[in-house]
């Protein structure tokens, strides 16, 4: 069966590719199922998927179809106890392997990962953590890698996790999935400073009265897309996503956030701050999805992009799909240069153009990345 997307001849048949993963053979059937979906949907492209502003297909067209060296290191406090599993988890829990497809049926990029996943980490957290867990994902050299991270957080647990995505020169297609039990809360700090073409799909499945607070700092040196899907499985859960994007020159940083209000009395809050310099490009698509029977939802979206160069560009597409009247929603987007009245005010106190811009941009960043955030250490020097 030929792939629908004939522009990707370097994607091999899954069976040939699978030979290089002896450990994964017991999952072959599941992976093949994902691969058949991938064949049906095609390699992610603007035509077939929800992304309207970037075309991953073109970006990865010329990447060598071999694996690059990738590692996922878990750093933790000695006093904190939690389980770490790898491929063995999915062998024992086969019903979890295709779980992302339960929420997303038309995502080529997800099927791509599920077909070729070559690196697994599964964390099971049953008790409160005293210190944050650090998940350090590094890749080296050209080629592709398809890491998958699953985190299960039990009921009544508070946890903090830091994700560091770094390195690489090829194509990284990552899935991160978090299941949060009832009355639990998780704070996440995510850094992306990859040199590879980086695509990450992040799912959270929220139990009753649970909470996820995701802060993101994205400073890609190549092309990056980050797509977040929060599913409110039970009532009184909330999800917050606050992101700062500062792509390097000639880089591209794309975001998609989908808050799926599947239960009543839930809250979602999405905020984006983009600082776009020379030859940079970013996009932000955010969808609030409230189903017919779902009541008392609160959903906010806010996007602000600062264009520092005439060749910088930003696309923002806030969307609402709301089928119930019992909703409070707020959304706003502003794209433009720094406020000239603000600059003049700062100049009038003696700050030169560089200092004035720096303090204004620091102010914008600090809305989401405060002084006590671990992400502050990763900010480019001129914004510290």
């Amino acid at each position: 069966m030929a792939m629908k997307d004939s522009t990707m001849p370097n994607f091999l048949n899954i069976k040939n590719f699978d030979k290089s993963f002896d450990d994964l053979s017991s999952l072959s059937q599941l992976r093949e199922e994902a691969f058949l979906n991938l064949k049906d949907i095609g390699i992610p492209s603007k035509k077939f998927e929800r992304w309207k502003y970037n075309d991953l297909k073109n970006d990865i067209r010329n990447i060598e179809f071999s694996l690059c060296k990738t590692s996922i290191k878990i750093k933790k406090n000695k006093l904190d106890k939690f389980e770490i599993n790898e491929i063995d988890y999915f062998k024992k829990n086969k019903n979890h392997y295709l779980q992302p497809l339960k929420y997303l049926k038309d995502e080529g990029v997800v099927n791509l990962n599920l077909s070729y996943s070559n690196l697994f980490k599964v964390l099971t957290i049953k008790k409160d953590l005293k210190k944050p867990i650090i998940v350090d994902i590094k890749s080296e050299g050209h080629g592709m890698s398809f890491p998958r991270i699953l985190i299960n957080i039990y009921n009544n647990v508070n946890a903090e996790i830091q994700f560091l995505n770094r390195g690489g020169l090829g194509f990284i297609n990552q899935i991160t999935e978090i299941n949060i039990g009832k009355n639990s809360s998780v704070k996440i700090s995510r850094l992306n400073e990859s040199s590879s073409i980086h695509s990450e799909t992040f799912f959270s499945n929220l139990g009753r009265n649970s909470e996820i607070n995701l802060k993101n700092l994205s400073i890609p040196k190549n092309k990056s897309r980050f797509q977040v899907f929060n599913s409110f499985i039970d009532e009184y859960s909330s999800a917050q996503f606050k992101s700062v994007s500062i792509p390097y020159e000639n880089s591209k940083d794309d975001f998609l956030v989908h808050n799926n209000h599947l239960s009543s009395n839930c809250k979602s809050d999405v905020g984006m701050r983009s600082i776009l310099g020379k030859e940079t490009e970013s996009s932000f698509q955010a969808l609030i999805d409230v189903e017919n029977k779902i009541k008392n939802s609160r959903a906010d979206q806010d996007c602000r992009a600062i264009l520092l160069d005439e060749k910088a560009s930003m696309n923002a597409k806030p969307e609402m799909k709301i089928y119930n009247n019992d909703v409070i929603c707020k959304h706003g987007t502003t794209i433009g240069s720094l406020n000239q009245d603000h600059i003049f005010y700062l100049n009038s106190r003696g700050l030169n153009k560089f200092e004035a811009e720096k303090i204004l941009l620091q102010g914008i960043i600090s809305e989401y990345i405060s002084e006590d955030s671990p992400l502050i250490n990763f900010l480019p020097e001129k914004y510290k």
Partner: protein
């Protein structure tokens, strides 16, 4: 110093409309001048041009400050040379904390003038001293710059910056507007405390009440972009009693 600020035959247009016409004004070091005029007469235009704001077309004339051509300097250079504009409507800047902003401004100013930055402890002591005089709490210093401040709080904050930066020429653009009676006294007294032989002030106002607390040396009546009469504090009293009618008809 004589003619510390010297404005000679200054004309300013905005979008081809003449706002300031052939203005002449000399302020010596240590003097306090008041510029009084009705709405829309060009007072704020003058203060913005002195501070270096873009968007104004200087069609004629010169401005010298401390013997140098002021117009060749950028706004931050003017500030670091000692010009301070207390804004009529200070802008709100989210994310920038008040205390960090004032520290950065003071450091820029000291660096420009060849001085070492204040030690953190000395800076903190100084700003707390000045803030106390203005009834400004520590919490208020940590807030975002002017964000959510009342009109009165913004004016107090302008006065705090004035006291911290110690400019040689302070231009107060309707600093009295938006202040209740108590805040008015606090701000006026704080501004008065900065008065000295080494610095000058240009107070722009509609009303005499500010000039009762900050006694000017010279009062100018400013109508339609020109000074049409100058005199002592009695001129302000006359305007307070009779308004600008006599001058409008002049």
């Amino acid at each position: 110093m004589k003619n510390f600020l010297k404005i000679k035959n200054l004309s300013i247009s905005v979008d081809d409309k003449c706002i300031i016409k052939d203005l002449n004004l000399n302020i010596n070091k240590g003097e306090v001048h008041a510029l009084m005029g009705p709405n829309g007469c060009g007072k704020s235009t003058l203060s913005n041009v002195l501070a270096g704001k873009e968007g104004y077309d200087i069609t004629n004339g010169k401005i010298s400050f401390s013997g140098e051509n002021l117009l060749k300097f950028s706004p931050n250079e003017r500030a670091n040379k000692g010009i301070f504009l207390a804004f009529q409507y200070p802008v709100e800047i989210p994310g920038v904390t008040n205390i960090n902003f004032i520290k950065t401004a003071l450091e820029s100013n000291r660096q420009y003038n060849g001085l070492d930055p204040l030690k953190p402890g000395d800076f903190l002591k100084l700003i707390k001293e000045k803030a106390e005089l203005l009834g400004i709490s520590d919490e208020y210093l940590k807030r975002q710059l002017n964000v959510g401040f009342s009109g009165g709080e913004k004016k107090r904050n302008e006065a705090l910056q004035l006291m911290m930066l110690e400019p040689s020429l302070a231009i107060l653009d309707e600093t009295d507007s938006g202040l209740d009676v108590d805040a008015f006294k606090i701000v006026a007294d704080a501004v008065n405390s900065t008065r000295g032989k080494k610095n000058s002030m240009l107070i722009i106002t509609h009303y005499q009440r500010l000039l009762e607390r900050i006694q000017p040396d010279i009062v100018h009546v400013f109508i339609n972009g020109s000074i049409i009469e100058s005199g002592g504090p009695e001129l302000a009293e006359e305007i307070d009693k009779n308004g600008y009618e006599r001058f409008n008809n002049a």
